[in-house]
């Protein structure tokens, strides 16, 4: 019977799976996950795809904000860059296998450009700079009609594989889910490497990191790049999923939503990004189901849905920050350990 975690080798400490059982459970989970697109209704498929995209975006933001400690309010803008790059390239007939990485790289470049002046700035100044980036990108997107289609927006052709168009949620899920899993896998491994550990060192104490030989400038820029790549890929998938994108798809509240995801899920945790994204994507759906179920008794609820959604979102964030600042990931770990170590938890 286990009573705690006792590693005797560094290898064991670094391992992604602590036990072979954990590996099997994950494999089973993935199998089930891929069965969903075959069976689910189109509504839940839509939710599944949106959740997976949100996971990628939240993971990207978490790399920057949670792991490297750089606050970004510009995530909606970076999503927009990825999405519009996709619309432009796909509109010119480039196949999606090139479009998605290209959108990621372009966004990474943009992220590094906006990150560049921010490298001198810390904390709240950085939040301001990225907020400004949001408004500047929004302005560009609305006014650069030739590329973005302006306020009216632009349409994205469906991705096609060997002449087979992935035009509905069911088929798209087989593009979005693997992409999501690949990015999570990369992130999980990133933080076992020198680069990932340098990010964490910068977050914990930038001056000590510098003293210990981490080139803060380079790694901060790299964090901006990697994070924006993720967000760009998410934006690209979002464009393929939404099919029509306009500036309205990328409001500031989207950036706040995503910060909410990593706060609720847990800053600096891969699992946290997943849980937070799932939580905040499902929250409005659950609310929608509840309001439509209760609308028989309370017809006024239908009109109150939008403010209700907003209010519940805000209250959730405030409550999490006050009562569970480490997020769902920490809660999950505690619950898991309680069961695993029961009854000798030392």
């Amino acid at each position: 019977m286990r009573s705690g975690e006792f590693y005797t080798t560094y290898r064991a400490d670094m391992a992604i799976f602590e036990t072979a059982r954990a590996r099997r459970i994950l494999a089973a989970f993935l199998l089930v996950l891929f069965a969903v697109p075959l069976l689910g209704s189109s509504y839940w498929l839509d939710v599944l795809n949106r959740t997976a995209i949100a996971v990628v975006a939240a993971m990207g933001l978490n790399i920057l904000t949670g792991f490297t400690g750089q606050i970004s309010l510009g995530n909606a803008a970076f999503l927009a860059i990825g999405a519009y790059a996709t619309a432009y390239l796909a509109g010119h007939g480039v196949p999606f296998v090139f479009v998605i990485p290209a959108a990621g790289l372009l966004t990474a470049l943009a992220g590094m450009v906006f990150g560049f002046p921010s490298l001198r700035l810390k904390g709240l100044y950085l939040a301001m700079a990225t907020l400004a980036a949001h408004f500047i990108v929004e302005f560009t997107v609305t006014h650069w009609d030739a590329v973005t289609g302006g306020v009216a927006g632009t349409s994205v052709p469906p991705p096609s594989l060997f002449g087979f168009a992935l035009a509905n949620d069911r088929t798209l899920a087989f593009l979005i889910l693997p992409a999501c899993i690949a990015h999570l896998w990369f992130a999980k491994n990133l933080f076992r490497t020198r680069v990932g550990k340098a990010f964490v060192a910068i977050r914990d104490q930038d001056i000590s990191a510098e003293v210990m030989g981490v080139e803060v400038f380079r790694f901060k820029l790299l964090a901006f790049g990697v994070s924006s790549f993720y967000v760009g890929v998410a934006g690209s998938l979002l464009a393929y999923h939404a099919r029509i994108i306009s500036p309205e798809n990328f409001p500031l509240s989207l950036a706040i939503d995503q910060l909410g995801m990593i706060i609720i899920g847990g800053l600096g945790s891969v699992l946290g990004s997943i849980l937070g994204a799932i939580f905040l994507t499902l929250l409005p759906e659950v609310l929608r189901l509840l309001t439509s179920a209760l609308s028989g008794q309370f017809p006024a609820l239908i009109q109150l849905f939008a403010p209700l959604k907003l209010g519940v979102f805000g209250i959730t964030i405030v409550l999490f920050l006050i009562f569970e600042p480490d997020g769902l990931a920490a809660r999950w770990r505690r619950i898991r350990n309680w069961f695993r170590l029961y009854p000798f938890s030392y």
Partner: protein, 294 residues
């Protein structure tokens, strides 16, 4: 030239309201180190509460007093319930909690008053008077005058009144202030209520200038950010000047560049200025220079 002067004047009038809201922002930041992203919602709530009371046939003076009372209590309650548990938490938590708060407040406003624009009873008559060659709406002039009076009063408050001095002491060093017998908690509460009240004034003035209240008032809470950065996050004089500068910049750039870009320059120009200022002088024109560089 006349066009330029007109833009300048409008900019100054709008800027004076920015100054007021920026002042509320800086008061909170100075005393407690919290960047309040819910400032715009204070503005919105002030506007709506005033509207609700004054449409209930209350005299304007009473409506104003009630609104200020409501805002002051709101500020104190929020500080006590939401912000105090987060003292000492990382900056991201504090930023997020004010963002969460802004969602909640906006939801409350939408839930009660809906999203349609509500017409505002005009406190001032809007027929223009001429200032030299320039026509200017009477309401604009009065609102600028109100703001000027309020700014002078607040400046004097910080300079001579005991609580004002205590607030400045707290801003300088909380530990020293505590050891001198100042209740830092009470100062935090006071700063939040002052910020809420001045924002409510800003909300009411802006709503009367526009002739109506709707959710777009809250956007002002974000526009104030460039103003406080330009002035310096911890400088009261800087906030006033920053607000005026941003108001003027917004109007001038909107007036001259909108034809070039086809609209919307007004919204983005303050943020371009924000980025430039951050790159050149992150602590603004009057902020305390803290060398904190990596």
């Amino acid at each position: 030239m006349e066009f330029f002067l007109q833009l300048l004047l409008n900019g100054l009038v709008v800027g004076s309201i920015y100054s007021l809201v920026a002042l509320g922002f800086v008061i909170i930041f100075k005393s407690s180190g919290i960047l309040n992203f819910a400032q715009g919602e204070f503005l919105l709530l002030g506007g709506y509460v005033f509207l609700a009371i004054s449409t209930a046939h209350a005299p304007i003076g009473a409506a104003l007093l009630l609104t200020f009372g409501f805002s002051a209590i709101l500020g104190i309650v929020l500080e006590r319930l939401v912000l105090r548990p987060l003292i000492g938490e990382p900056i991201i938590s504090v930023i997020m909690v004010t963002l969460g708060l802004s969602s909640v407040l906006r939801a409350i406003v939408q839930g009660i008053w809906g999203t349609d624009t509500r017409p505002m009873p005009s406190v001032f008559s809007l027929d223009p008077i001429r200032l030299g060659p320039l026509p200017i709406a009477r309401g604009y002039l009065y609102s600028a005058a109100c703001v000027a009076v309020l700014l002078v009063v607040l400046t004097l408050f910080f300079k001579y009144a005991r609580p004002g001095i205590a607030m400045r002491a707290t801003a300088d060093s909380q530990q020293v202030a505590l050891s001198m017998g100042i209740s830092v908690r009470r100062i935090f509460a006071l700063s939040w209520s002052i910020a809420a009240v001045v924002s409510a004034v800003g909300g009411i003035l802006l709503a009367t200038m526009r002739g109506g209240v709707d959710g777009s008032l809250a956007v002002l809470g974000l526009k104030v950010l460039p103003a406080v950065i330009v002035g310096g996050l911890d400088s009261i004089g800087g906030a006033i000047l920053g607000g005026l500068l941003i108001g003027v910049l917004e109007n001038l750039s909107g007036g001259y560049l909108d034809p070039v870009f086809g609209g919307g320059v007004k919204e983005v120009a303050p943020f371009v200025a924000l980025v430039l200022i951050l790159m050149v002088r992150p602590y603004g024109f009057f902020g305390k220079v803290r060398i904190e560089r990596v």
